[in-house]
């Protein structure tokens, strides 16, 4: 099949699904809605696989038509681009997307907005495909905005809850700040390179010297966009709140795909970033702070989804650090493994929530191992994968990031290792709190706790397998096997990071294993039999700071929202009511006052009127006599 055909097949099925479910969904029955919703992503996935086999290791351009043409200045084509980087992202998005669509069929089955949910999810997938396939920044930006919109719609999916709506608005506004950065970067690029075509930009950038100020500005503004979308400091606070959406949404959008769009963008433009080391320093700093803050915060959260959300932020911080040190393929590799194990963890958490009829508080869980055998198993696999336990997926990718960080600077390595230990701690805490020990909720909910249906477990198993073997796409150098992911991606992205010695790798492995085993033992002892009071008990000192998310929301409230509010209030009461309205009301006030005073003349007394008339006549006569007229 031609590339043109395949791109059509990838792109449009989710959009068609969105249109059918969006317009007719309320009249169709749920089975049909589910079929429509799942077929679109599946067709896209198959098309992506076919495209991979036909066009791998090539750079294929598929041009549909000319979109915008400014004669003699620049033109923008509606054009798509397939290379190895897009293939990796396509597989993740459509593959994991299909699994999560199938899972949603079970998870959302009793919801009245079933068709709406599938419509939004399909629209999201379409936007994400636009983002990945776009060969110029404008199409990419259209997809970028599209996924932001779908994220907003799905966070606020249960729109009758005011808190959820507030969370949706927060996500939208935070993303808007990032998008503004992206937009400014696009304008600067159009000014600098007279084009928005990504390949032309990357070729053009090579002509400039290292750290050319204009290019630094471009990469920095682009990174502001990345901060918004990929939840980096200081714009990350929307992601934990985004957990207000249904769990499959958290898995698909806020863990596996959309939030990695920023990583994809930087990887896509990596040739430009390698030319701006100043920006890379900032990227490393932001990534490190994000990874640490999120990891510390996750230590003290009691909401199962909040823990996973902060761990997502933390993992995104890892990926951003990897981008900063120039290990672009490693970052994408971590995107892949993270998509597997984080989608798995979210869906398993969704299975727990579903089984407990909406309970999300881990202080009211415990001992669920008996009731949910399969969920327990896949959750354990996901946990082992994220904490980097060999041979699960997370081990290889995280190890690579740590190695690349070490190759860059030892301090980065140390800070990332601290975050990594925190990751292991909070994930094991989550695991033991949920599945081990005694159940801490009431008997009623324990009796009704149940394992999820097959349609939900199926995707979990597939993801569990992927989370187990996913790491073998990227075996480290020391095994003398080809690093498949690195080889594959190096045809579109060039790494600039340094690899440390083999000895370092072996030491790192041993230390990892020792630390993980000891953490496993400590957390098992500590969290298997904790009472509900200990979870909710008040903390002192630093742990209180962690529990309260570093008071970041409060700080933002204080330094941004409150001043803006008071400015708005001042403008409303003083500026608007007194100044603007004063000017607007001036003519009417004058006329009204004049009217009030002049109405005294309209006495209704006929005699007075006649007197006035005669006086007028006399005055005219006098003027006539004295030749004044």
């Amino acid at each position: 099949m031609s590339a043109n055909m395949l791109v059509h097949l990838m792109l449009w099925p989710p959009l068609i699904g969105f249109i059918i479910n969006g317009i007719l969904g309320s009249k169709l029955n749920k089975t049909f809605v589910q079929w429509i919703g799942c077929t679109g992503p599946l067709v896209s996935f198959i098309a992506a696989v076919l495209a991979y086999f036909s066009f791998k290791d090539q750079k294929t351009v598929v041009s549909f038509y000319q979109w915008i043409n400014v004669p003699d200045l620049f033109e923008i084509n509606f054009e798509f681009f397939l290379d190895n980087l897009s293939f990796v992202m396509l597989m993740i998005v459509t593959g994991v997307g299909t699994l999560i669509h199938a899972y949603s069929g079970g998870y959302m089955h009793d919801d009245e907005g079933f068709h709406r949910f599938f419509a939004y999810l399909n629209l999201f997938l379409f936007s994400m495909l636009l983002l990945i396939l776009g060969s110029n920044l404008l199409i990419l930006f259209a997809g970028w905005e599209g996924v932001g919109l779908c994220s907003f719609l799905l966070i606020g999916f249960w729109y009758k809850n005011t808190d959820y709506n507030a969370a949706a608005r927060k996500a939208f506004i935070m993303n808007r700040i990032g998008d503004l950065g992206f937009l400014i970067a696009m304008i600067l690029i159009a000014y600098q390179f007279q084009t928005l075509d990504i390949r032309v930009i990357l070729d053009g950038a090579k002509q400039y010297p290292i750290n050319e100020p204009f290019n630094v500005m471009i990469t920095l503004f682009l990174f502001v966009g990345v901060c918004g979308k990929s939840a980096q400091v200081p714009l990350f606070t929307w992601l934990p709140d985004a957990m207000a959406g249904p769990t499959p949404v958290s898995a698909l959008i806020h863990a596996a795909t959309m939030v990695t769009a920023g990583i994809y963008l930087v990887a896509r433009l990596s040739a430009m970033y390698t030319l701006t080391p100043i920006t890379n320093q900032i990227i490393i700093g932001v990534g490190l702070i994000t990874a640490l803050i999120a990891a510390f915060t996750a230590l003290k959260q009691n909401d199962i989804k909040k823990v996973l959300a902060y761990s997502t932020v933390s993992q995104l911080g890892y990926m951003v650090v990897a981008l900063g040190v120039g290990a672009y393929t490693t970052a994408v590799f971590h995107v892949v493994t993270h998509a597997f194990f984080k989608a798995l963890l979210f869906l398993a958490a969704g299975s727990v929530i579903h089984g407990l009829h909406g309970e999300q508080d881990i202080s009211k869980m415990g001992g669920l191992k008996e009731k949910m055998k399969w969920t327990h198993l896949v959750f354990l696999i996901g946990t082992l994968a994220i904490i980097g336990c060999p041979p699960f997926a997370g081990f290889f990718s995280k190890d690579e990031i740590l190695a690349a960080a070490y190759g860059h600077h030892i301090i980065i390595f140390i800070l990332l290792s601290i975050a990594s230990v925190c990751t292991a701690w909070y994930m094991l805490r989550l695991y033991f709190s949920c599945f081990h020990g005694q159940y801490r909720g009431d008997h009623h909910s324990w009796d009704h706790a149940h394992e999820s249906p097959v349609i939900m477990l199926g995707p979990l198993f597939v993801l569990a397998i992927l989370a187990t073997i996913g790491g073998f796409f990227g075996l480290p150098e020391i095994t003398h096997q080809t690093h498949l992911m690195h080889d594959f991606l190096s045809k579109s992205v060039q790494d600039t990071s340094h690899h440390p010695s083999h000895l370092f790798e072996i030491v790192l492995w041993l230390v990892t294993i020792i630390v993980l085993v000891s953490l496993f033992i400590i957390t098992k002892k500590r969290y298997s039999n904790k009472s509900i009071e200990e979870y909710n008990g008040s903390d002192t000192g630093i742990s209180n700071v962690f529990r309260n998310k570093f008071y970041l929301d409060e700080i933002y409230d204080l330094i941004i929202i409150k001043p803006v509010y008071s400015l708005g209030n001042w403008l409303k009461t003083t500026f608007e009511h007194q100044f603007v309205q004063g000017i607007m009301y001036l003519p009417s006030t004058v006329l009204s006052k004049a009217g009030t005073n002049l109405r005294a003349l309209q006495s209704g007394n006929t005699g007075m009127y006649i007197l006035a008339m005669i006086l007028g006549l006399v005055i005219f006569c006098l003027m006539f006599i004295f030749k004044l007229v």
Binding site: A600, L601, Q602, G604, G607
Partner: protein, 109 residues
């Protein structure tokens, strides 16, 4: 009308003018000061007739009949005006049971 009658020539034009001015001013003051609507109405008629007198006198002294023709027009209009005006007064009396002009103040702003 080439020749004025002797009897008219015996009285100078000034007298006619003074008489009609006096009549006009009497009517005017009556209109402004009297309270009874009917009296006010009569005063208006006096003013009209003062003007008519002036027209006739001046036209006679100037041997020009245009002024006297105008008087006929004025009388026709005055007749119409009287019928309308009296009808208005009757209706006003029916509504307010009074002819005091100070009470007709619905035009007060």
């Amino acid at each position: 009308m080439n020749q004025m009658p002797e009897i008219i020539q015996a009285i100078p034009l000034t007298h006619y003018i003074l008489l009609s001015t006096a009549l006009f001013v009497i009517g005017l003051i009556g209109v402004m000061t009297r309270k009874n609507v009917i009296i006010v109405f009569m005063c208006i008629e006096i003013m009209l007739n003062a003007v008519n007198l002036l027209f006739t006198a001046v036209s006679s002294y100037n041997s020009d009949s245009a002024g006297q023709i105008m008087v006929f027009f004025t009388m026709a209009v005055a007749a119409a005006e009287v019928s309308v005006g009296l009808a208005i007064i009757v209706m006003m009396f029916k509504n307010l049971q009074t002819t005091n002009i100070d009470l007709f103040k619905s035009l007060k702003g």
